[in-house]
């Protein structure tokens, strides 16, 4: 098995010291997985502690496989939204299809093991340059989308949100993050620890037959990628089986039903990094127990696998139960007979493989032979790396002058709309099933956030958005992390949903390099500031470090944030497309003289200092105004302002009226000077990315809207909707179909 260890010498020494002997081969691989950054968060856990995790909506904060937020009540039942956020970056760079597919496969299990039904997924993606059809990144960008499509569609979970950015600094390390959402009755949550009375209970493994795939996956994702190790790296990637997962999920839902009927508390956990060893050790130790596992009882795909491969290999599609022995036969019957797992995939099944013990040792047997015997808390207890970092300098402030360019407005619009960070994402998301399960309210492309009404008969709904802007984080990770939260919150607010909680995936370079680690420290601080300001706690998250290639090309700091919103009544949802001519358009937001990190500066090829700052008080007031106006039925449409600025936001609202079997609606924007009063230049007003929203208000509702807005700063009347297919900015009108052609074709060339 060609696989080297990622454990460092000092870590190896401390293991031998604690055991009082040289570790066995199996123990070495076990510690290698368990002490990897991926499993232990050794260089990030103490930093993450600073993030706010408490709030009115928090049912379960970080610590288990997923976090849970309270969504609503219906027929006397409280319903929770289960959310997890993961990355599958390294595998996707090496084998894009399988890497992205197993990314979904893995996170779906994090949701299922909380006793929840999986109701949605979302995919934030970051790719390198894809213009060259023969480049590896083009292959990665296509393979990842194919993998997400193949896996997510087959298991029957709608893909309702996501984003994608392209930048040369992702050439050697793509980012494939995935968010999954589940629905659970709060009284029926299953925890990922052995319950207090579990001494002597069975440990039951269920799913795919264990094979040699994914051996060394945890430590693989915790080192920098080396092209020379390509073959060994490929072996560390798991093999997806969405067909088996589809059946496994449904069989597990059936087990939940049986548990509900009998009212028994058990433990359930997903097998991820560290395989059988990692999962069984964590589920038992977090309940205060030890464990004893017989590796010969594990259903394997081929004979002769070494014990360390069976113990820590990361074969996909497996879960692990801790069950009272009297319940085990019924659970085995459901999986093996009712849902016929052994006929679904070769030697797939549920099997009892070990016992929970009061003795605090983690023991693995291979027949009679003991191949691992270590103190369980030493294996799973939090190890910690104190690494050096420096406080990053804040990016230089924006210049005190209006930005000038000699480029004409039509050319600016054309180049900004064609930019890969701005143009239509339909060529990607039309490959994902966004509507399976029939509960989708807003699919991708219909609004700023995906919306699902998860409980049949209940009026409430859940909104989801994922965001993080690499152009900003290249300039200032601290402020960019705040913008990631602000944008995710803003997108959820744009559909009329109240933001209730966040998750994050922190994608960074090598923590052992001081500049990369300092970025991580700064970004976490930024996330905390914005999370507190918006009163939206973090309930789960993930850290992906070592996103760096051996030649030193590291990704830009990439904190990616997901926000969950709650809608009390789907009737109050606001969508993005303009609705009627003759409405009044308002900007909720204050443009700034800060074009740093904007798409505009990127297309002009220069660089400009100064990211937009965030005025939290004003943003909160705008969100409150928008939500109250939505509830009062005063908003015909709403859209957040982000990549490409106000000009792009207005174009997209007008694009949404095309192809619907009725006349298109256009926009007449007043000359920016009329509403900025010269506070910023026209270019900053049109293309600045300081945030905010555009809302459409019917003429008859203007008075009521303005009454709500009384006393709120930064609310500007900026134009009207018109019954001509143009976007007009002051005296210049641009043909809507021409603009739409540019915007819709740009990525279609990559995703043919």
């Amino acid at each position: 098995m060609p696989k080297s260890l990622a454990l460092r010498d000092d870590e190896l020494r401390s293991i031998a010291e604690r055991l009082g002997r040289e570790p066995s081969q199996t123990e070495l691989h076990a510690f290698d997985a368990q002490w990897s950054e991926h499993c232990s968060y050794k260089s990030s856990r103490h930093l993450l502690k600073a993030l706010p995790t408490k709030g009115a909506a928090v049912v379960l904060g970080p610590g288990e496989d997923s976090g849970i937020l309270h969504l609503g009540e219906w027929n006397g039942e409280r319903y929770g939204i289960v959310i997890a956020h993961e990355s599958h970056n390294h595998p996707s760079q090496v084998v894009p299809f399988e890497g992205a597919a197993t990314g979904i496969g893995g996170i779906v299990r994090d949701i299922v093991c909380m006793g929840a039904e999986v109701i949605a997924v979302a995919d934030p993606l970051r790719f390198g340059r894809v213009d060259d059809p023969l480049s590896h990144q083009r292959y990665v960008a296509q393979g990842v989308v194919d993998g997400i499509s193949a896996y997510g569609n087959a298991i029957g979970v709608p893909n309702i949100a996501g984003d994608v950015y392209f930048d040369e600094r992702f050439d050697d390390n793509c980012l494939v993050n995935v968010v999954a959402i589940g629905l659970v009755k709060e009284s029926e949550i299953i925890h990922s620890f052995a319950p207090p009375n579990a001494d002597g209970w069975d440990i039951v493994l269920v799913g795919k037959a264990t094979d040699a795939s994914g051996f060394g996956g945890a430590s693989f994702s915790s080192v920098t990628l080396d092209a020379a190790d390509e073959d060994a790296n490929k072996g560390a990637v798991q093999v997806p089986d969405p067909f088996l997962k589809n059946v496994l999920m449904r069989a597990s839902y059936r087990v939940f039903e049986m548990l509900r009927e009998r009212g028994i508390t058990v433990g359930f956990k997903d097998l991820g990094a560290g395989g059988i060893m990692g999962c069984s050790a964590e589920i038992c130790s977090s309940g205060g127990f030890g464990a004893e596992i017989q590796l010969r009882s594990v259903n394997v795909a081929l004979e002769g696998l070494p014990p360390e491969v069976i113990a820590v290999g990361e074969t996909q599609e497996r879960l692990l139960w801790v069950l009272p022995p009297e319940l085990t036969p019924e659970v085995l019957r459901i999986y093996n007979e009712e849902y016929t797992l052994p006929q679904i995939a070769r030697n797939a099944r549920a099997a009892a493989i070990g016992t929970v013990t009061a003795r605090q040792q983690y023991v693995l047997r291979d027949g009679e032979r003991i191949v691992m015997d270590v103190p369980i808390e030493f294996l799973t207890g939090s190890i910690r790396d104190e690494l050096p970092y420096e406080r990053l300098e804040a990016a230089p402030p924006p210049p005190g002058r209006a930005f000038e360019t000699g480029v004409q407005l039509d050319e600016l619009l054309e180049r900004v709309l064609a930019h890969h960070d701005v143009c239509s994402r339909e060529p990607l998301y039309r490959r994902y099933d966004g509507v399976v399960r029939g509960r989708t309210v807003l699919a991708r492309g219909e609004a700023d956030a995906g919306v699902i009404a998860p409980v049949p008969g209940a009026p409430f709904a859940m909104a989801l958005s994922v965001d993080g802007n690499p152009r900003m984080s290249k300039l200032d990770p601290h402020l960019a992390a705040q913008h990631a939260v602000y944008e995710a919150v803003r997108n959820v607010v744009a559909v009329g949903a109240r933001p209730i909680g966040l998750t994050d995936c922190l994608n960074f370079g090598n923590p052992r390099k001081i500049d990369h680690y300092s970025e991580l420290v700064a970004a976490i601080d930024g996330l905390g500031i914005a999370s507190r300001a918006f009163a939206t706690p973090f309930v789960s998250g993930n850290v992906s470090l070592y996103n760096e290639s051996k030649n030193g090309n590291a990704i830009p700091a990439s904190p990616i944030v997901a926000c969950v919103g709650a809608v009390d009544d789907v009737a109050q949802i606001v969508t993005l497309p303009l609705k009627r001519a003759g409405s009044v358009l308002y900007l909720l937001g204050t443009p700034q003289r800060a074009l740093g990190g904007s798409v505009l500066i990127d297309v002009l090829g220069g660089s400009e200092p100064g990211l937009p700052s965030i005025d939290y008080d004003e943003a909160l007031a705008h969100h409150e105004l928008l939500l109250r106006a939505a509830k009062a039925g005063l908003l015909r449409s709403a859209h957040d302002i982000s990549d490409g600025g106000l000009a792009v936001a207005l174009c997209e609202m007008a694009f949404g009226t095309l192809g619907r079997g009725r006349a298109a609606i256009g926009v007449q924007l007043d000359d920016p000077f009329q509403w900025t009063h010269g506070g910023v230049g026209d270019i900053e007003a049109l293309f600045g990315e300081a945030g905010g929203h555009v809302v459409e208000v019917a003429g008859a509702d203007v008075e009521a809207f303005e009454a709500l807005a009384d006393g709120v700063t930064g609310v500007h009347e900026i134009g009207v909707t018109i019954d001509r297919p143009v976007v007009a900015i002051g005296p210049q009108a641009f043909d809507l179909h021409w603009l739409h052609g540019i915007w819709s074709q740009s990525l279609a060339q990559v995703y043919v």
Partner: protein, 255 residues
């Protein structure tokens, strides 16, 4: 005792929840029947085959599940006049089982829903238009002439393919039940998302009791699925594609 509808679940089916929910909202007495309970199928009066990837689309979508023991009961029931509706993967299975268009023997398909012209999975909102007289089938009898139903196409293999001989037979024998259309009801090849022959979105058998449709009306079937277009109405009420299910349920109750 009303007439009972079985919603079949094969290994790999993924659309059973919304299919069951809409049948029930349309007044149908429906329940899920899993593959390990195949022998309970004869007791049901009608069958619905929902979407998904039964047996992983191995060989060709629908090819393996067409030979699942559950289909013995469906074929037998269809031959005895029971109503059968297949949606997406369910439609592919009905074609592979030879029930639709039914111009050959059982399990000897004469047409297939196969790989989209793009060779890629596509998820996009479409409209399907009734292309037969409603009374041609008890399943469509309650729909209006030329009824236009919003639905979602979500498939990798939805393109009707058959020999010229069989395509002619499909046209002449009034098997072409639904075609893709624009939102305004006009029929236009550009409205077909997958390159399907004849712009076909749905096929009917000769006797009119077995219907196979590729798009999913059950995913645009309540007002909340399109808050945009159905502003101001009760968001939880059925709408959109629901009339087809209502017509099917009415047909089952009459049968």
């Amino acid at each position: 005792m009303g007439r009972r509808i079985a919603v079949l679940v094969f290994p790999g089916t993924n659309s059973e929840a919304e299919t069951l929910a809409l049948l029930r909202d349309c007044g149908g007495e429906a329940e899920l029947v899993h593959w390990s309970r195949a022998q309970s199928l004869p007791a049901f009066d009608a069958y619905v085959l929902p979407g998904g990837f039964a047996y992983e689309d191995r060989i060709r979508a629908g090819a393996i599940p067409a030979h699942d023991p559950m289909m013995d009961y469906v074929i037998e029931g269809a031959q005895r006049g029971k109503l059968v509706l297949g949606i997406c993967n369910g439609a592919q299975i009905l074609l592979e089982a030879g029930l639709v268009p039914g111009t050959g023997d059982a399990r000897r398909p004469t047409a297939a829903f196969t790989h989209n012209a793009s060779r890629k999975f596509v998820c996009t909102h479409v409209h399907m238009k009734l292309a037969i007289a409603p009374s041609r089938s008890p399943i469509t009898a309650a729909l209006a002439e030329g009824a236009l139903l919003p639905a979602w196409a979500a498939h990798g293999q939805g393109r009707l393919a058959a020999s010229q001989v069989h395509l002619r037979e499909i046209e002449r024998g009034a098997h072409l039940a639904f075609v893709y259309a624009r939102a305004d009801g006009s029929v236009d090849p550009a409205a077909t998302p997958n390159g399907s022959a004849l712009g076909c979105a749905g096929l009917l058998n000769r006797e009119g009791n077995v219907l196979a449709i590729m798009p999913h009306p059950e995913r645009d079937a309540w007002n909340f699925n399109h808050p945009d277009l159905r502003e101001g109405r009760n968001m939880l009420a059925p709408s959109g594609g629901a009339p087809l299910f209502a017509s099917f349920v009415a047909g089952v109750q009459r049968s």
